[in-house]
């Protein structure tokens, strides 16, 4: 499980809808990767001015390819780093570190599992689905995105799931609305035992709340800004309630990215809650509301 740093080789880069999927020969990374973990890659070449490695969830791994173990990740072109990645060619070297972070926990007994993915957030749910199916679990997929081309993996999801629900914000395919909209009904009709989710923070907040209301355990994989990705810098923290009931600012790169949904204090992301361990002594007045917490609130209201 300990991460390694390797100079991998780009094996292939293909388009999937609005996304790119890159397969990298990365011996040592592939062999120990578990669903929910991520890799980081250096972008921009040896003399790059972009110092921050880019994190991506692991999509598929092949432990023994012709060239050694391979790792595939799916990415959306967002800024300079991902634009550079999208222009890489097969056989070019790529500096990759992984597997990183805590994976999804799997149920011990066969269970009914609802997997909820938003945008490229569906990608890590596929290796998870494989692992769950190996354990005899039933899979029900709910995937959503802004538009049809930003849906990821609908066909594959259909093939491996008992039921598939699809949503798009613009109604171009499936239900018009948010991925959390059909969730209460899916949970009820499938008699779900557990929910797994990956996607943008407002979605994870909504999914966690719905699962909590239904009394179903929920694991989510979050996405926070990261500088090191390995646990040394404290950039990627968010307020999470521990087993002892105390809130701590924990590192999503090593203590996450997978958390129990009900433990994450979504409303307080972007703040230091006054009752967090080590919070500033005189509680700030008035209670600060971070940009992201405010945004999450708006989205959640729109979802309801």
């Amino acid at each position: 499980m300990t991460p390694v740093q390797v100079t991998g080789e780009v094996l292939s880069l293909r388009r999937i809808g609005a996304y790119n999927a890159m397969t990298v020969v990365a011996p040592g990374v592939a062999e120990s990767a578990k669903p929910g973990q991520f890799v980081t890659v250096a972008v921009g070449g040896p003399d790059t001015s972009m110092l921050m490695r880019r994190p991506f969830s692991i999509y598929q791994v092949r432990e023994r390819g012709v060239y050694g173990g391979t790792v595939e990740f799916v990415f959306s072109v967002e800024g300079r780093g991902t634009r550079w990645l999208a222009h890489m060619q097969p056989h070019e070297p790529i500096d990759i570190v992984g597997p990183l972070g805590k994976p999804f926990a799997l149920p011990r007994e066969p269970a009914t599992c609802v997997l909820v993915g938003g945008g490229y957030g569906s990608a890590p749910l596929f290796p998870l689905a494989d692992a769950l199916r190996e354990r005899g679990c039933r899979i029900d997929f709910v995937i959503g995105a802004a538009t049809e081309e930003r849906l990821f993996g609908a066909l594959d999801a259909k093939r491996i799931s008992a039921t598939l629900s699809v949503t798009t914000d613009d109604g171009s395919v499936g239900l018009r609305g948010r991925v959390s909209d059909p969730l209460p009904e899916v949970l009820a009709t499938t008699k779900a035992d557990v929910v797994y989710a990956c996607g943008p923070m407002p979605m994870l907040r909504a999914v966690s709340r719905i699962a909590e209301e239904a009394g179903i355990p929920c694991q989510i994989a979050v996405e926070e800004m990261m500088a090191c990705g390995v646990g040394v810098c404290m950039t990627c923290v968010l307020p999470v309630v521990g087993d002892d009931g105390e809130t701590r600012m924990v590192r999503s790169c090593v203590d996450g990215p997978v958390f129990h949904g009900e433990r994450v204090r979504f409303d307080d992301i972007g703040t230091i809650p006054a009752d967090a361990v080590g919070a500033p002594e005189p509680p700030p007045e008035p209670k600060p509301v971070g940009k992201r917490a405010a945004k999450a609130q708006q989205v959640a209201e729109a979802v309801r």
């Binding site: 110092l51 990705g229 390995v230 810098c233």
Partner: protein, 326 residues
Amino acid sequence: MSTTLTVRVGTPAATPASTVDMSTTLGRFELPNPVLTASGCAGAGRELNQFFDVAQIGGVVTKSIMLRPRSGRPTARMAETPSGMLNSIGLQGPGIDVFLEKDLPWLVEQGARAVVSIAGGSVEEFGKLATRIRDAGGASMIEVNISCPNVEDRGQVFACDPRAAANVVQAVRRATRAEVPVFAKLSPDVTDIVAIARSCVDAGADGLSMTNTLLGIVIDTDTMRPVLAGVTGGLSGPAIRPVALRCVWQVHQAMPEVPILGMGGIRTGLDALQFALAGASAVSVGTETFHDPSAPMRVLRELTKALADRGFERFSDAVGLAHQPR
């Protein structure tokens, strides 16, 4: 050394890399080689030990520790900038109790040399921290972070006031065993770095760490607000290298006998060599570790080779060399 420098350009290594003596000293602290981690960029060494053996580098400079646990600043805490980054972590950490119980003993167990960085909000707090560390044992050196521009209270930046800086240094020096050097870590955000450096040395600092980050701001042009929740952050990485190097140069020129731990944007062995030539007896590799988690080890390898290629037999012969006339 000047004789060995007469090798022709293009001649292969005049000295085999394996025979270059890389040992160095920071005051009474003897190091097998001059490459260390930078405070806040290596935790307490455990995570980086997955990528290289932390006992093999000169030392591990730990994240600045405070008396009590501290949750730091709200997120967003980071913004990437051209050849650098802005951070506003706000000294999140477990506090000295946990550090002394879990982190420092682990480093000692690995055979790593621990440079313990401390931060406080008052002279008294710095003194207490030093006392706790003395009582626990295990630290090879103390680095006093008087310059972190991230602490909540802007008024608590000691590094910009020669008197305040001296008071902190004096309190720490008094509470620390004689064989453990105390280095003051300076901020480049001052008008006269030599004045602050002199004040720290007069107060008992055995050496100086230079430099900490420079204060900066990035504004998101979509939200039209600062990217960092804490508004300002510390700029680090290659973007600040010439500034940090200038600080090392000026202080070494003014006080050539005072050892310097140099840092600021070191990515390669040649960057480290620049700091040595300017007067640094050792270097810290910070932000580059985020880009390449094995960077400190790589920089050591590259520096050793760079010295060999230039005909050096000893790292120490390179320290301050750039100040000598050609």
